[in-house]
């Protein structure tokens, strides 16, 4: 009977030793503080200026990823999470637009648009106007001479109101037909941003 007990005892001691062999950060009771999502985009600004020095601003911000309210009742509780604000744009004007992307969940806020510029060949913005007369042209280029869209020209037409959808694609196929001209149809890739701004031309 002695050996019967001896073997489990040895195993138990071995188990304890194994259990004790832990690297730093291996205690589940002390998780790392809440991680701030490094690549999160919380804010998109589109800053417009015309040749006369007038400026306009569109802004979309999202709580997604770092703040979440538990509410009652299903479908509508998250509606307020995306906040969109936009100045009216002047009619029949050539505007220059610059896109700034921020991650405000980290302190200080991180300018994600710098990462987009650094990896310009892997990113492209697309602009789609609905029910409103705006034509778009890219005013920047990546290392291969293809557009990114952080800088763009917006030619507004007659007064009216509609929507402008701004989409950022990660790893699009910029060589596909129409893509460098701003047509998203054949772009492929992964959507990093997709915001539909209400657009008013006065």
């Amino acid at each position: 009977m002695n050996t019967t007990l001896r073997i489990p005892m040895v195993l138990l001691i071995g188990a304890t030793v194994l259990a004790g062999c832990k690297k730093d950060g291996d205690d589940p009771a002390t998780p790392t503080p809440p991680v701030n999502e490094e690549e999160l985009i919380t804010d998109m600004y589109i800053l417009f200026h015309d040749d006369d020095g007038n400026t306009y601003e569109w802004h979309a911000s999202s709580d997604e990823g770092f703040h979440h309210e538990h509410g009652e009742g299903g479908e509508h509780e998250h509606e307020g999470e995306l906040h969109i604000h936009g100045d009216d744009l002047p009619a029949n004007k050539q505007l220059h637009a610059e896109i700034i992307l921020l991650n405000r969940s980290v302190s200080p806020a991180d300018t994600i648009s710098h990462e987009v510029l650094d990896e310009g060949a892997d990113h492209q913005f697309f602009f789609i106007a609905e029910d409103v007369d705006i034509t778009f042209a890219y005013e920047d280029a990546d290392d291969n001479g293809r557009p990114i869209g952080l800088l763009s020209g917006w030619q507004t037409g007659a007064s009216g109101s509609g929507h402008v959808e701004v989409i950022l694609r990660h790893q699009p196929n910029k060589e596909a037909a129409g893509v460098s001209g701003g047509d998203i149809t054949n772009a492929g890739g992964v959507t990093d941003l997709s915001v539909e701004f209400p657009a008013v031309i006065q």
Partner: protein
């Protein structure tokens, strides 16, 4: 008349084999199978002549015959309900008569494995097995693929290289995987990764298709997949095997080697070493490359054990690593991307074939260390203690900006200690059983530095259980078993809530399970197994605390901390019959189950974010009723020629919502034409099979839950061939497997990547195996 019915179809194969005799191949092997325990003969024992692809069943007097055998070395494998499978090697030089001893209900000391050491482990439970020969044919694939052809079993896929077994519609942590007698814990992390183990380190896979919590504890609701371990040698002498395979799809291959032996002068001391690897590039679908679906796998294990008739001890260690790419086109940004992917019908990203593993990719590592000690307390009673430690590591790399693609987006480390103490006892000659206690200590840690909020929080789980399982032999042809388990678990979660406050909620679960079953040999040609059992599963941490975006499905998943344990009751009836003088064998399993508190994801509107719209899913509990039938039949319609059919049908209803249950396997039927012959020249054990697999469209789906209609029905044609010959001191076996020979473009309802791309196209695999030395 009766004896005639008893003869297995292989007798008929033999009868014609005799017609094609070659000189020196007219030996007859006769034998009897005897119960070692009381000296009675064992009727209906299964006898397999391994290597010659022959099998038969003994008659009422326990007799069997193989005719027309060539001289040479053979391995006889024999088994009987309620007995341990045994093997005997013999050298055939002329007509030979052997007596084979099986121990009915007595556990041998040299059965080292807990999982294999019990008499009939699963009295009344429907179960199916994949033997080594069958495993070898599918040696280029993972565990799920090896059992996928069994009736009642299907595969839940995440692209072409990730698969996990589904038993009667249940999978993931509702199906327990038992590897080397130890619960495989890596399945705790969700459905998008396969069990981290090398199935070829085992000799046999058993799939139990009933609820089995009494024996195996939590999670064994749908069933259990057991990779049965191999016994260590006890006598001096070296043996081993080498195996290599290459596959056309993925343009890769793999191999494994095994070496084992005893130690001269130390009776009872044995060792085994085993290693394996696989290396594949991108898989190919009809018409395009499935970019970034390459795979690298490597594993190894070592075991050493010593035993004598009084006691034994064994140490085991294994390491398994898998690094695989995830279909690039399955990485999407938002719901619009998903809809575009579905609408286009083609992956949005394809590139020329490559062996490179790019992001997204996953890297898993599983290590298992096990120590086992056993002691016979009397002639029949024994005490077995097992301690095991598992370390599971998983890293996932995603497509990220700012050079973060080489930083894991998910980095988990799971440590599990388990201890089991089992007393196998005899109350009388007819009543025997097991009493056991088990404990588990598990810790899950998110390794810092990912820069991403973890989907699964840190936790510590401690659980303990006690069980008793007794068997009664009422008469020689009727065996009853009944058992009960009580199990408790304490789960401590360490996480930050939505307001970023540190919280440490505790969950306690107390569960019990019961089981009752019987094996009844109604006639020698008709056997009934029936079982009714309960099972339980405490909710997983992700079901309680998940909160975030799930890449790949572009869905936001939200847990519910108030969820309780799932409780299942499942009944199975399994009928096995032999007719037409052994030319027809049939096996039908009926199953029905009810699961209270079945946890699943239910859609709950959309969330609009700066990245676009995402569907939101919440973990909710419902009650589920499932039933179905698995059937298989093999009819030897001509000597050497047989038709084999396998059918699986499952129906599942969500009782609270009044709808069908999501993601249930479609009806499937497999028909094979099999040709077997004993020899051709110096070759022997020739087997050729053409298989058509028919999968119907899953039309029973809940409304509005899926983004895409279930895929169309499809049909696949497969081919399998193998042949063997003696070579030197061993045996050489060569085989070929063909999958999807017509290169059909199809998508499977149980493939989570069915939104993005077709399943893989034609694959031709060639394999060769050489086994040498004495066992």
């Amino acid at each position: 008349m009766r004896i005639g019915i008893l003869l297995s179809y292989s007798f008929l194969l033999l009868a014609t084999a005799a017609g094609a005799q070659t000189p020196g191949c007219d030996h007859v092997l006769r034998g009897r199978v005897i119960d070692d325990h009381d000296g009675t003969t064992l009727g209906f024992a299964h006898v397999v002549l391994v290597g010659a692809a022959r099998n038969t069943a003994t008659d009422e007097q326990g007799r069997f015959t193989f005719e027309g055998l060539c001289a040479g070395r053979y391995l006889l494998r024999f088994s009987h309900v309620g007995c341990i499978t045994r093997e005997k090697e013999l050298l055939l030089t002329g007509d030979t008569t052997v007596t084979l001893h099986l121990e009915h209900h007595v556990v041998e000391f040299n059965e080292v494995e807990v999982a294999a050491a019990r008499p009939d482990e699963h009295v009344g439970q429907a179960h199916v097995q994949v033997d080594k020969a069958e495993m070898e044919k599918r040696g280029g694939s993972g565990l799920a693929e090896m059992v996928a052809h069994l009736p009642g079993v299907s595969v839940l896929r995440t692209g072409p290289t990730i698969g996990k077994p589904v038993i009667h519609g249940l999978s993931g942590n509702r199906v327990l995987t038992l590897n080397q007698g130890v619960r495989q814990e890596d399945q705790q992390w969700g459905s998008e990764h396969a069990p981290s183990l090398d199935p070829l380190s085992s000799d046999r896979i058993t799939v139990v298709k009933g609820a089995a919590s009494v024996q195996y504890g939590a999670d064994a609701m749908g069933g259990v997949v057991i990779t049965e371990p191999v016994e260590l040698p006890v006598k001096a002498g070296l043996s081993g095997e080498l195996r290599a395979m290459g596959g056309s799809n993925g343009r890769g291959g793999g191999g494994n080697g095994l070496l084992q032996g005893g130690v001269k002068g130390v009776q009872g001391l044995g060792w085994r070493m085993q290693g394996s690897g696989r290396y594949f590039g991108d898989q190919q679908a009809p018409g395009y490359v499935l970019s970034n679906t390459g795979l690298r796998e490597s594993g190894g294990s070592a075991a050493i054990g010593w035993r004598n008739p009084r006691q034994g001890v064994q140490l085991y260690y294994s390491l398994f690593e898998r690094d695989l790419g995830i279909l690039r086109a399955a990485h999407i940004g938002n719901l619009t991307d998903l809809r575009n992917a579905i609408a286009s019908g083609r992956p949005w990203y394809t590139a020329p074939f490559s062996y490179e593993l790019d992001v997204p990719r996953q890297q898993v590592r599983h290590q298992l260390a096990k120590a086992e000690a056993r002691r016979f307390l009397s002639e029949r009673d024994q005490l077995v203690f097992t301690y095991a430690f598992q370390l599971d590591e998983r890293q996932e790399f995603d497509m990220r900006r700012g050079g973060r693609s080489n930083t894991p987006a998910l980095d988990l480390r799971l440590r599990t200690h388990t201890g089991d103490l089992v007393l196998k006892h005899y109350l009388s000659d007819r009543i025997h059983g097991k009493f056991g206690a088990s404990g588990t200590h598990q810790e899950n840690v998110n390794v810092p530095g990912t820069g991403v909020r973890p989907l699964i929080p840190n936790y510590r789980k401690r659980s303990a259980g006690l069980f008793l399982l007794e068997h009664v032999d009422l008469r020689d042809h009727l065996e009853l078993a009944a058992g009960a388990r009580i199990g408790g678990a304490v789960l401590d979660v360490f996480t930050h809530n939505s307001a970023q406050e540190f919280i440490t909620p505790r969950h306690e679960f107390l569960n019990h399970a019961l089981s009752a079953g019987l094996n009844w040999s109604i006639r020698d040609s008709l056997r009934l197994r029936t079982n009714i059992s309960t099972a339980f599963r405490p909710p997983h941490v992700s079901e309680l605390y998940s909160e975030g975006l799930h890449h790949g499905s572009a869905a936001i998943e939200i847990g519910d901390a108030a969820l309780g344990s799932e409780r299942a009751v499942k009944g199975t009836v399994d009928l096995e019959a032999i007719a037409l003088k052994g030319r027809l064998r049939m096996d039908v399993t009926l199953h029905a189950s009810h699961i209270a508190g079945y946890i699943h994801l239910r859609p709950d509107g959309y969330r609009l974010t700066i990245r676009g719209a995402f569907p939101e899913f919440r973990y909710v509990a419902t009650d589920v009723r499932m039933h179905g039938v698995d059937a298989s039949a093999e009819w030897t319609f001509l000597p050497r020629w047989a038709l084999r059919s396998r059918l699986s049908v499952v129906r599942a209803r969500d009782l609270l919502a009044g709808t069908w249950l999501f993601q249930m396997p479609a009806d499937r039927m497999e028909n094979s034409l099999v040709f077997r012959t004993d020899r051709a020249g110096t070759w022997r054990g020739i087997e050729l099979a053409v298989t058509g697999t028919e999968v119907w469209r899953q039309s029973r789906v809940p409304e509005g839950l899926d983004f895409m209609d279930p895929p169309k029905a499809y049909r696949l044609i497969g081919l399998s061939a193998s042949i063997a010959r003696p070579l030197g001191q061993g045996e050489l076996r060569i085989g070929m497997e063909g999958y999807n020979l017509l290169n059909a473009a199809y998508r499977d309802y149980l493939d989570r990547f069915r939104y993005y791309a077709d399943a893989r196209g034609t694959d031709l695999t060639l394999w060769v195996r050489y086994a040498f030395g004495r066992k």
